[in-house]
C-alpha cells in the first residue's frame, strides 16, 4: 500500500509539473519553453523457467528460476528558439529473481529453497535534434548493480535523415565497464583450479559495441531496417561459480578466454498487408570468435480488431551451434585450455510462440482514464530442444 501511495504521489507530481510547464509556455512565449513530459512508460513482466542443465552443477540439475522485472521511464522534451528539440529519457529498472541453482554454489549457507537477488539499473539519455538540418545527436549514461556485479555504461550516437524523410542512418557507440565480485563453488574456494581469480576477488569485464542502422521506406505499405551491432568484450568472461566435471571426475571452475568478438547482422521488414493485417518480420545472423553461429527468424502478424485495438501472434525460431569450449558433464579432458558445461553455450534450437494485445485511445483514455494512452499485454512460451522451457507475461502502460 505504501509503495502505491508513493507511486501515485510521484505521478501526480510529474503531471502537475507538466501542466505548469505548458502554462509557462503559453504565458511567456516560444523562446522560454520549459521541459514538458511527453510520455511516461511503465513496463512490468513475470518470467519463469525450468530445465535440467544447470551450469552451477556442471550441466546437470535444476534451472528453475523466476524473475519479476519492472521498468519506469519518463520522456521529457522542449524546443529552443531555433526550433531544435532537446529530449531527456530517464529510466529506472528493478529485477527481483529467485534461482534454485544458485543455492548449489554453497548449499550450506542457504536456508531457503531458492537464492534471491535484486538488480537495480537506472539510466539517463539526452537527445538533440536539429529539425532543419535533419540530424540528431544523443548521449547517455547507465548503471546496474546486483550482489556480485556492477556495471557502468556510456553511449553516444548520431542520426541523419534524408530530405524526403524516407531514409535514416544512425550510428551508436556504447561502452560498459563492469566489475565482478568472484564467487567460487564451495569445494574449491581454498584451492582455486586456475589463475583467473580467487574467491571474493574483484575482476573487470569491459564491453564495447558499435551499432549501425539504415532504415528505408520502400513504398506506402512497406519499410525495412538493416542493423549491425559489432561487439568486443574483454576481462573475466567466465562465470566462476559454474562447475565443470572432467573425464577423471575431478571438478574445476568454468574457464573461458578473456576476449570475445561478436558480429550480429539483422534485418527488419514490416508490411502493411491490408487494413486488418500488418506483418512484422525479423531475421538475424550472428557469429563470434568462440565459433558460435546462430540464425534467428521471427514473424508477427498483427490483426486489427477495431481502429483502437489489435491482436498479435508472434512466433520466433532460433538455432545456434556450440561454443568450441562447451562439453557435457564428464566429457572435458584435463588437457583442455578452456572449458564450460553451460548449456546456454551448447548447440540447440528453440521456438517461441505468443499472444499480444494492444489497446490505444488518445481521446477517452484506457478504462476512461484520460492519462492512460495505451495498454499492451504480451505472453510468450519458449521451449528449447534440450528441455528448457519458460513462460513470460508482460504488461506495458503508456501515460501522456
Amino acid at each position: 500500500m505504501k509503495k502505491r501511495i508513493i507511486t501515485a504521489a510521484f505521478l501526480a507530481f510529474l503531471f502537475s509539473q507538466q501542466s505548469k510547464a505548458q502554462t509557462d509556455t503559453i504565458n511567456s512565449g516560444y523562446k522560454k519553453q520549459k521541459l514538458k513530459i511527453e510520455e511516461i512508460n511503465f513496463v512490468s513482466s513475470y518470467y519463469t523457467q525450468n530445465g535440467d542443465n544447470s551450469a552451477v552443477t556442471g550441466g546437470v540439475g535444476t534451472e528453475k528460476l523466476t524473475d519479476i522485472a519492472t521498468n519506469f521511464e519518463v520522456l521529457l522534451s522542449k524546443k529552443d528558439s531555433k526550433n531544435n528539440i532537446h529530449s531527456f529519457d530517464v529510466n529506472v529498472g528493478i529485477d527481483s529473481y529467485t534461482s534454485a541453482s544458485s543455492d548449489k554454489i554453497d548449499p550450506s549457507t542457504v536456508s531457503s529453497a531458492s537464492y534471491q537477488d535484486i538488480r537495480v539499473y537506472p539510466s539517463v539519455n539526452y537527445n538533440f535534434e536539429n529539425v532543419e538540418k535533419r540530424y540528431a545527436l544523443n548521449a547517455g549514461l547507465s548503471f546496474s548493480a546486483e550482489f556480485d556485479y556492477t556495471s557502468i555504461g556510456a553511449n553516444v550516437g548520431y542520426t541523419k535523415t534524408s530530405k524526403d524523410k524516407n531514409r535514416e542512418f544512425s550510428v551508436k557507440g556504447m561502452a560498459f565497464f563492469d566489475t565482478w565480485k568472484v564467487i567460487l563453488p564451495i569445494e574449491i574456494r581454498n584451492n582455486p583450479t586456475d589463475n583467473d581469480a580467487n574467491h571474493l576477488d574483484t575482476k573487470p569485464r569491459t564491453s564495447y559495441n558499435l551499432g549501425l542502422t539504415l532504415s528505408q521506406v520502400i513504398n506506402k505499405n512497406f519499410q525495412m531496417a538493416f542493423l549491425a551491432d559489432f561487439g568486443y568484450q574483454e576481462g573475466l568472461l567466465a562465470t566462476k561459480f559454474n562447475r565443470v566435471y572432467f573425464d577423471d571426475l575431478s571438478v574445476r571452475s568454468e574457464k573461458l578466454p578473456s576476449t570475445r568478438f561478436k558480429i550480429p547482422l539483422g534485418v527488419r521488414a514490416n508490411y502493411y498487408l491490408n487494413d486488418r493485417i500488418i506483418l512484422r518480420t525479423f531475421y538475424r545472423y550472428y557469429y563470434d570468435n568462440w565459433n558460435i553461429n546462430s540464425h534467428t527468424v521471427s514473424i508477427e502478424p498483427s490483426i486489427k480488431l477495431t481502429p483502437f485495438s489489435s491482436l498479435s501472434l508472434p512466433y520466433r525460431y532460433y538455432m545456434q551451434s556450440a561454443a568450441k569450449y562447451f562439453d557435457a558433464i564428464n566429457q572435458h579432458q584435463l588437457t583442455d585450455e578452456y572449458y564450460t558445461s553451460d548449456y546456454d553455450l551448447s548447440k540447440f534450437s528453440s521456438n517461441m510462440i505468443g499472444l499480444g494485445y494492444h489497446l490505444t485511445d488518445s481521446d477517452k483514455g484506457i478504462f476512461h482514464i484520460k492519462r492512460i494512452h495505451s495498454l499492451e499485454m504480451r505472453y510468450g512460451y519458449y521451449t528449447r530442444n534440450n528441455g528448457l522451457s519458460s513462460h513470460i507475461i508482460t504488461l506495458a502502460l503508456q501515460f501522456k
Partner: protein
C-alpha cells in the same frame, strides 16, 4: 534456411523504392509498423540474451548485468 532467405530476397527485389510523401505515410506511421522492438518485447529480449549465446542487432540489451543465473 537458405530457402527462406531466397524467398525473402525475391520478395524485397519485387518491391520498388518509391519516394513516399509525408501525407502518404498513414500506414507507415501505424504503431505496429515501427522498425523497433515493442515495449512489451523489452524483457523478452533480455531473457533471450541470457538463455542464448547471441546478442545484438535487435534493439535489445547488449551489456550491463551478468545474466549469470
Amino acid at each position: 534456411m537458405k530457402k527462406i532467405l531466397f524467398i525473402f530476397a525475391l520478395f524485397v527485389s519485387l518491391q520498388s523504392c518509391e519516394s513516399v510523401k509525408e501525407y502518404q505515410k498513414s500506414k507507415i506511421n501505424d504503431t505496429e509498423m515501427a522498425l523497433t522492438a515493442k515495449k512489451t518485447e523489452k524483457f523478452e529480449n533480455t531473457f533471450q540474451l541470457y538463455r542464448e549465446a547471441s546478442s545484438g542487432a535487435n534493439g535489445g540489451k547488449t551489456g550491463g548485468g551478468c545474466g549469470c543465473n
